[in-house]
Amino acid sequence: MLVFIIRRILQTIPVLIGVTFVVFIMLHLMPGDPAVVIGGEAASPETLAQIREDLGLNDSVPVQYFRFLSGALRGDLGMSMRNRDRAVVDEIFDARFAITVQLAVVSTAFSVLLGLVIGIVSATRKYSIADTGLMLFALLGLSMPNFWLGILMMNFFAVTLRILPTSGWGTWQQMIMPVVMLGVTGTAVIARMTRASLLDVLNQDYIRTAYSKGLAERKVIFKHALRNALIPVITVVGLQFGGLLAGAILTETVFAINGLGRLIVQSIANRDFPMAQGAILVVATLFVLVNMIVDITYKIVNRRIDLN
């Protein structure tokens, strides 16, 4: 087990290095001179020279990458292009990082709780009206453009009913709509996964054994079935968390939340590439780390893998 954990952690390192490389190369793959791309067609030669100087574009690409990597390792992602006194790292970690992580964590919690309840109710009342209704609900949740849902909710709860604030992040009222919008896909995925997994487990031999011992249905489901059914759901939760980090881009745009996602969109719009690079790098790194943790958890929970 310990060997697995260490190996899994070590595996993460090349992936993270690869991620820094991809994020770094972004600027260089753009057609044309990066300085012109950043500065715009109309920029004066002095501005372009300044940009080249700031970004170290005069060095060779490997040197630039090495500088980027070592900077990233030291927690230095360069300076914002828009506000030259603002370090990218400060902009990201002052408040935005925490806001996006909060948003993702609360949405994950929401998806997991609601998704599990829906999945369990559906699976235990297979083919009932409740099951059909809940699965239809999940299908809609899965198929909905969630930014559309966000705007509809905003229109209804904030504009028409005036019971929730339209934007921002901090109070619990401000959290409700963004969390629902961001969590709806995850809820649907987890609900469907839980249902499928639970139905699968309920067909297993050990469930019949549990009934043959004289256990009540409730006990069989919660003590025997659910434990096993949740194992595959763990993986989905990890993936969902990553999806939520990306989905935050849309949620933060709709509800004007100043998190990482909005930062990415705004930086791209403002052609503030060091800022966009930094934010994307942080999101990807976070996702890689979360997946690593999920894999390790999965391994610990699913002891059966040991044998096979």
Binding site: L140, P145, G242, L245, T285
Partner: protein
């Protein structure tokens, strides 16, 4: 009981019916497949017949008819520039479906090829490909597409590339996994024994045997891609106006929420309907083509 469960008469009967016939039978007998395929076909027909079906020119701006609510003349109302929303939606199906289908096809084919070669040969080549794929999988959801479009610029071709790129890692992984297990099957050894070349084994013997999960995945990916295309347009890096595209229509209607909700409502509804249809189809295909599950 395991033994008797796997030998229920129900299953024995199934084995007797020939495989292909059984698959077809399961396809058209599966209500999900039928409903999903029907919905998808409706949208495809709508895209093809757009010039015939659309009541107005999707680009025509009529200042006198701005922000009209849904009514008898404009079934779904008009937008802030006085364009007919229904017509724009019908034409929008062309953009969305063309982009999502072709991106799925391109990305799927490329990913399948990578996975096939990687899984078949194994070794250092496989390790390198898989590590690279791990790197791309580290960019969750639309981040990678957003990233690529930013890099390449927002032309339709670049959006296609970005979304296709998004499909490659998933397909490569699924294919690789299936290839690794298919490689162990006896008929592969048998064909090698009679002198089949590697490429023949890969494309003639292995590929047809691992198509099922790929078909299901491709279907579900089309649905995801429609949502991604809409999302990219919504944040302004996708299909650019004035081209009618559902996501950018939602974005365009955003500022009129409260005054003219229909501008953003109907595009979302269209997306919802087509994605629901494709997802139903995907579920149905998985049930009908997948390994028979216990009921």
């Amino acid at each position: 009981m395991q033994e008797s469960a796997s030998n229920t008469p129900e299953k024995e009967v199934k084995v007797i019916i020939s495989h292909r016939k059984a698959v077809l039978r399961r396809l058209y007998k599966n209500p999900h497949v039928v409903v999903g395929a029907t919905i998808m076909l409706i949208f495809i027909l709508m895209a093809i017949l757009a010039p015939i079906l659309a009541p107005y020119d999707p680009f025509e701006q009529v200042p006198a008819r701005r922000l009209l609510p849904p009514g008898s003349e404009h079934f779904m109302g008009t937008d802030n520039l006085g364009r007919d929303i229904l017509s724009r939606l019908i034409f929008g199906a062309r953009v969305t479906l063309l982009l999502s289908f072709s991106a799925t096809f391109v990305g799927g084919a490329l990913g399948t090829l990578l996975g096939l070669v990687s899984g078949y040969y194994g070794g250092p080549f496989d390790s390198i490909i898989m590590r690279v794929i791990d790197v791309f999988l580290a960019f969750p959801g639309i981040l990678l597409a957003l990233f690529l479009v930013t890099m390449l610029g927002t032309s339709a071709m670049n959006i296609l590339i970005a979304i296709a790129f998004f499909a490659v890692p998933t397909f490569a992984r699924i294919t690789r996994g299936s290839v690794m297990s298919a490689k162990k099957l006896e008929f592969i050894d048998a064909s090698r024994a009679v002198g089949a070349t590697d490429s023949r084994i890969m494309f003639v013997h292995i590929l047809p045997n691992i198509m099922t999960p790929l078909i299901v995945q491709a279907t579900l990916l089309i649905a995801t891609n429609i949502l991604v295309i809409a999302a990219l347009s919504f944040i302004g890096v996708g299909v650019q106006p004035p081209t009618p595209e559902w996501g950018s229509m939602i974005e365009g209607g955003r500022e009129f929420v409260g005054r003219a909700d229909h501008i953003m409502f109907f595009p979302g509804l269209f997306i919802l309907c087509v994605v629901v249809g494709i997802n139903i189809l995907g579920d149905g295909l998985r049930d009908a083509l997948g390994p028979k599950q216990t009921k």
